[in-house]
Structure formats: C-alpha cells, structure tokens
C-alpha cells in the first residue's frame, strides 16, 4: 500500500506559478472582500452582487481558476492537482475566496464532463466556469424521495423535442436558477432503465416555481411544476434510459461535497469550546460551571476531531489507492450528525437566548444560530438520508445482502 508520489515538477515552475497567483491576487482581489465567503451562495439567494464581488467573479472566471482542474478547452483552469493546491494556498493566504460555486461546479459540471457530448460541453461548461449560469437539481418528487427511482415526471418523445409534464420538489435555489438538470421518465415499463437525464430552461413556458417555507423560516427549496414544457432533444445527456446511471454518478459528487471534512469545518466556524468559554458561565477554576454541559462538549469535540481525522484519512487513502476509499461512504452520515449535535449544544450554551425567532433582544448572530439549528435538520435527510447511507454501507461495503 505504498504511496505513489507524482514526480515533482521542477521547483522553479511551481514557484513561478505561485508568483503568478500572487500577482493576480494583488491586481484583482478587492481587499474589502477579504474573509467573506460564498459557501452558501448557491442556495442563499439571487446574485445581488456588489460591484466588487462581480469584478472578482469575472476576474477569476476569465482565468478558469474557479474550476482549476477542469479542462482549459471548456473554460476551466487546466491546472494539475499540485498547482490547484498552490492556488488554494495562495487564495487562503490572501484571505481571498473562490467566487465560482453552486451546483454547476459541485455536481453538474463534473458529470457533464464525463457523460456529455462535445456540443453539450461547449455550450454548458464555459458559463459554469465563469459563474454566469445557476443550475438547480430536478431529482426528488412528491413520491420519489429516498426511493428516487420511483420518479414519475414524464418526457414524451415528440420528434424534435420532449414534452415534459410533472412535478419536482426540494429544488434547491429553484427560484433563482437559470437551468435545471433533471431526471425524467421516458419509459414506464422499466423502473431504472426508463429514466433519462434532461436539461431544462427554467424560463421555458410551462415551468412554474413555488418556494417552500421551511421550519427555519427560510425558503431555500422550491416545488417546481412542469406543464407541457418543450425541451429540445439536444438537451438529453447520454442515451435515453441512461439517466439512472448518470444521475447516481452525480450523487457521488454531491456526497463528496456535503461531507468534505475541510469545507464542513469552514461551515462550522469557530470551535465549540471557544464559544462556550466566551458565552458560558465560568467557575472560579476557569471551567464551565455547568459540568454536564462541559462533559458533553468534550465528548462532542473528541468525536468531531476523530471525524476530521477520518475525512483526512479517506482523502489520503483515496490518493494512495488511486480510487475512492471505502470509508468515504461513512463521511456524509457522520459529518451531518455531528453538525446537528453541534447546533444543539450551541443553543444549550446560551439557553433561551439561543432560541430567538425575531425582533428585539436578539443579535443577528443569535438569530442565525436558531435558523442554523433548524435548517441543519435537513442535512441528514437530503443528499441521501442517513437511512439510505446505511443501506449503501451495509450492501456495498459490508456485503450484507438484499432480502431474498
């Protein structure tokens, strides 16, 4: 299991690239954007960018550096992993962030690069690299959640186009998206092979979007209705009936993104013990006065650290084996559960002050804490619920069989 190390290119080439990135940052990164992040921009609202944010997005997009390892031919950066790493390091050093994100980058782009036709790649990848087009995902339906293959939205062959009818739900950012990648039914006689992968314009006649109000008060998801929507045949990705295969591949990208230890750590912000020290009652010995809470925070942090070590190990193993490590299968389930536990503890630290809904008496941060706690309940449901993850682990990793 010895690690294969890529032969390092000449040091000077790396140094030159590092210098190039620094020069780029000095010229283009607006200092007022330092430390900001767009991690949640994909689902958090329309592109009401400031001028500086737009200029920054355009500068990064023009270089393809928002999608550093994607092929240059389609607008990506065309960088090796080593150089992409340098890029990331230099951005972090400057307090800069990647303005190109969303589902197009995380999920759809990688899948289209693998399965799309040349024409489709030329049409769709460059605008993703430039951060111009927002994609949304049309997978779930009212009767197709965990049992996704039960989806019913139909695409009927009408010669030069498909006629699409039906409903999608839990469409993240549907109200702001320009386009949707969707799983549709092209054949009712075969559950899995009757599914196709179709690209739909959200402004096409017959598409209607209704935001869903969530328990957190926010509406990041929508119901999307389709009535006699005409979709040109050129928008079929892969073959008719190949949608399940392509769609599952895309979900692998989703899981990787939802559970990546590093990005999760960023999402989670400062560690719990710092917050407890700052906001909790401290006794004369400098300890949290609530000894039960102290014990639970320590328990959480120990397991959180073990999780981060596991995410790192999965990455190292994948690199060394040249394939996905089998422990990657547990990251989504573990990371989302820990995130929820953390949100619960954050509230307990400050009591009712952490359950504010609106109005006077609560800071912005406190209200965000409430919303985060509530919205976080979705993480173990979306992207393949914990129960589905358990099925996958049991069957694919542990070799436990299906019921006969």
């Amino acid at each position: 299991m010895a690690t294969k190390v890529d032969t390092a290119p000449a040091q000077s080439e790396e140094d030159a690239f590092r210098a190039e990135v620094r020069a780029f940052l000095a010229e283009h990164f607006p200092p007022e954007l330092k430390g900001q992040s767009n991690v949640l921009s994909a689902i958090e609202g329309p592109g009401d960018e400031t001028d500086a944010q737009r200029r920054w997005r355009e500068a990064v997009g023009a270089r393809g550096w928002g999608t550093p390892t994607w092929p240059k031919d389609y607008g990506g950066g065309g960088l090796s992993r080593r150089k992409a790493r340098i890029l990331e390091e230099e951005f972090a050093r400057a307090g800069a962030w990647n303005p190109i994100g969303g589902m197009g980058v995380m999920m759809f782009g990688p899948t289209l690069l693998e399965y799309g036709s040349e024409e489709q790649k030329r049409e769709h990848i460059p605008p993703i690299c430039r951060g111009e087009i927002r994609w949304c995902q049309g997978y779930s339906e009212p009767n197709a959640g965990s049992d996704l293959a039960n989806l019913q939205m139909s695409a009927e062959d009408r010669g030069d186009h498909y006629l699409v009818n039906g409903q999608k739900t839990w469409t993240s950012g549907g109200q702001w998206a320009d386009k949707m990648f969707a799983l549709v039914r092209t054949d009712r006689s075969d559950k899995h092979r009757g599914i196709s992968f179709l690209l739909i314009d959200m402004d096409a006649p017959g598409v209607e979007v209704r935001p869903i109000r969530m328990i957190s008060g926010a509406s990041p998801f929508c119901e999307t209705f389709f009535t006699d929507v005409r979709v040109p045949k050129k928008n079929l990705v892969g073959e008719e009936g190949q949608g399940w295969t392509i769609g599952k591949r895309l979900l692998q990208h989703e899981r990787t993104n939802l559970s990546g230890g590093g990005s999760m750590a960023r999402l989670m912000g400062p560690n719990l013990s710092d917050i407890a020290r700052r906001e909790g009652d401290i006794d004369a010995a400098g300890r949290l006065a609530d000894t039960v809470l102290r014990d639970r925070i320590a328990d959480f942090e120990i397991r959180w650290n073990a999780f981060l070590l596991t995410a790192r190990r999965a990455m190292e193993e994948s690199k060394a084996q040249g394939g996905v490590s089998e422990i990657s299968s547990v990251l989504k389930k573990l990371g989302t559960k820990l995130g929820q536990e953390r949100a619960e503890l954050l509230i307990e630290i400050v009591g009712l002050q952490g359950l504010g809904w609106d109005g006077d008496g609560f800071s912005e941060g406190e209200l965000e804490r409430t919303r985060g706690w509530l919205f976080g309940k979705a993480t173990t449901i979306y992207g393949g619920s914990t129960e589905i993850q358990n099925n996958i682990i049991a069957k694919r990793v542990l070799g436990m069989l299906d019921h006969q």
Partner: protein, 356 residues
C-alpha cells in the same frame, strides 16, 4: 488504515500471519485454562522478541530497531485481534519511561534487556480501582520506596517496575520489599496488587515535570491500538456470523434492522481507527501528543464499549457461551477501557487541555 511505507506493510503482514498461525484465540484459551500465573507463554514472547517486536520503539544503540510508534501500533493491533496474551505493551511502555526519563546508565542497563525480551517491565501508577494519577501517595525516602499499587498489569513476570511516587517516577526491581497479591480480573490476564515496602528505588531524573503524563499518554495510545484490534475482531466476527446464521429462511444479514446497526458500527470503527492512528502518528511526529492521546483513548473506549456489547447481542444466545470467542473480547474490552483513563477521566482531561 493510515498510508504505510513498505517496511510497515511487511511488519503488519508478518504480525498478521504470526497471530493467525501461532497465536490464535485458542492459544489464549489454553493459557487461561492452565491458570498460568504469568498469564503468557514465554516461548511465544521469545518468538515475538526474535521478530524484533519488543524493540520497535527502542533506539538502535540500545538494541532496538527504532521503527516508530505507528509500526508498534500495527503489531499491537494484530495481537489485540486474537487476544494474544503477552507483556509486550507493558514492557514497551516501561521502556518508553526509561527512554524519556532515564539516565544514560539506566538506559544502558535496562533498554537492551527489554529490547531483547530477556527482561519484562511494567508501569505501576494507580493506587485504586480507577485511574487517577493526581492521587498518588507512594513515597520515597533515602532511596527506599513504600506504597501500594493496585491492579498492576503483567506484574507476575516483571523484573522491573516503573513506579509513580509523590515526587516522580522510580525504577524498582522485583525481589526484596516487593510483594504481589494476585487480582484475577475477568480478562484472565496477569494483574496484581503490588506492595512496596522500603524497596530500593532509583529515580528517573530526566524527562522534565511532565514525565508521568508523557508516559501515561504513551500508555493510552498503545492501549488504544490493542483496543482497535479487539474492536475490529468483534466486528469481523459479528459480520461473519450475520452472513451465515439463518432464521425465518433468511440469513440474518438480509434484515435491514441489523444492516443499519452494522453500518453504525462500521462508522464508529472508522473514526476509532483514525483516532488511534492519529495518536500513534502524534507520537512519531512529537506534536500534540497529549491531545491526540486523549482523543485516541476516549474514542477507543466509546467504540469498543459499544462494539463489544453489540457483538454479544448480535450473536444471540451463542454469544453468551464460553465456547464462543466473542465473550472473551467483551471481558478484555472492559479491562482495557478502565486502563489509563475511563471516559469521564478523558473528557475532563480534554476539556482541561482545551481550557474550558
């Protein structure tokens, strides 16, 4: 599994082959049934020493191989898988105390003999049934140590005790002034209450103020490595059993209620392995050892506790029989959990290190 170098892969494979062929669980059973006071087979320990395992963290100049802690952990994990009974862990921890705090003369005197397996040593810290290094009353005056240590592991075969006293760690040889009273625990390994009465003692003068903590962290990490092997073995055995046991005309592995429980345990085992390997790697790098040791042992305690209980439940009635191995793992698991810090102790330590 951490990414290993070629030598580590060879070492692990060798250990795996040896425990499978030379030291299966049946070997431990035979020892137990013989009620051997030493609690291990001297021939087996000699074989382990000949393969170099007793000197893995001892420098070459003192007869070891200086292969590092991750390498040691690989071997200890394999030993844990078959409940191999040996003083390897105790002796290695004692050796590390001498390495950290011993004078040149003390190192020269003991390390080569520990590396060769010719001598066995062990660490004696706690004076009650719960690990509590802050409560030590054994004391030394005029080079003579007096006090009583509880549940000292591998005491029966030890020629040398590394003993915690109020003002530091001391080397005490077995013999005059050292009295053992056997304490038979459920794991049926060697444990004894050791009474020191004016026993000649030599102080470990180096290693600084934190010597005891530093040694205990090594003990915590290496113990977690044994626990990792123990947990892995119970998991593998349970999964194997679920795949062959038929009820309601179905193998049990097809039942979703059981699949999800195994998926949970698999996730636990993954984080336990990462925490344990993280501890071993911290020892090799020399950074963040106290924190890494606390994470490793706490995670090992949590996961092994759960897996050893689930192992019995998922094996059903047969898991309750002495004839079946899974019960032996449960008994060893609890003793290892209590060693060098139970979960409450470790959480308190983690919070203290974190300043809250």
């Amino acid at each position: 599994m951490a990414v290993l170098n070629d030598e580590q892969v060879m070492l692990r494979d060798m250990a795996r082959e040896w425990v499978t062929n030379e030291s299966p669980v049946s070997a431990f059973r035979a020892l137990r049934d013989r009620e051997d006071a030493h609690g291990f087979d001297p021939d087996a320990y000699r074989a382990m020493a000949e393969m170099g395992w007793t000197g893995i963290v001892i420098p070459e100049q003192h007869g070891g191989s200086d292969f590092g802690w991750l390498s040691l952990g690989l071997v200890v994990e394999e030993l844990g898988k078959t409940l191999t009974s040996s003083p390897l862990v105790s002796s290695t921890i004692a050796a590390s105390a001498i390495l950290l705090g011993g004078s040149e003369a003390q190192q020269e005197r003991w390390l080569p003999r520990l590396a060769s397996g010719e001598a066995v040593a062990t660490l004696a810290v706690d004076e009650g049934p719960r690990h509590d290094p802050a409560r030590i009353s054994a004391s030394v005056s005029d080079g003579k140590l007096s006090g009583t240590k509880a549940f000292v592991a591998e005491a029966h075969a030890a020629q040398l005790f590394v003993v915690a006293a109020t003002d530091g760690l001391y080397l005490v040889e077995s013999g005059a002034g050292v009295q053992l009273a056997t304490r038979q625990l459920v794991d049926r390994r060697s444990h004894a209450q050791v009474e020191f009465r004016d026993a000649p003692a030599e102080r470990l003068g180096g290693g600084g103020d934190n010597l005891l903590d530093d040694v205990l962290d090594r003990a915590r990490i290496v113990t977690s490595a044994e626990m990792l092997g123990t947990a892995q073995a119970v998991f593998d055995s349970t999964l194997g059993y679920l795949k062959q046991r038929v009820q309601f005309n179905q193998v049990l592995a097809t039942f979703q209620a059981l699949q999800h429980r195994m998926a949970d345990l698999y996730g636990d085992l993954a984080t336990m392995r990462s925490a344990v390997e993280g501890g071993l790697q911290a020892l090799d790098s020399g950074f963040g050892i106290a924190r890494a040791a606390t994470i490793a042992k706490a995670e090992a305690n949590r996961v092994l506790h759960r897996i050893s209980n689930e192992g019995i439940q998922l094996h059903g009635g047969i898991g309750m029989t002495d004839e079946y191995d899974v019960g032996l793992y449960l008994k060893r698991a609890r003793v290892l959990e209590a060693a060098w810090g139970n979960t409450a102790f470790l959480r308190d330590r983690f919070a203290t290190i974190g300043g809250y």
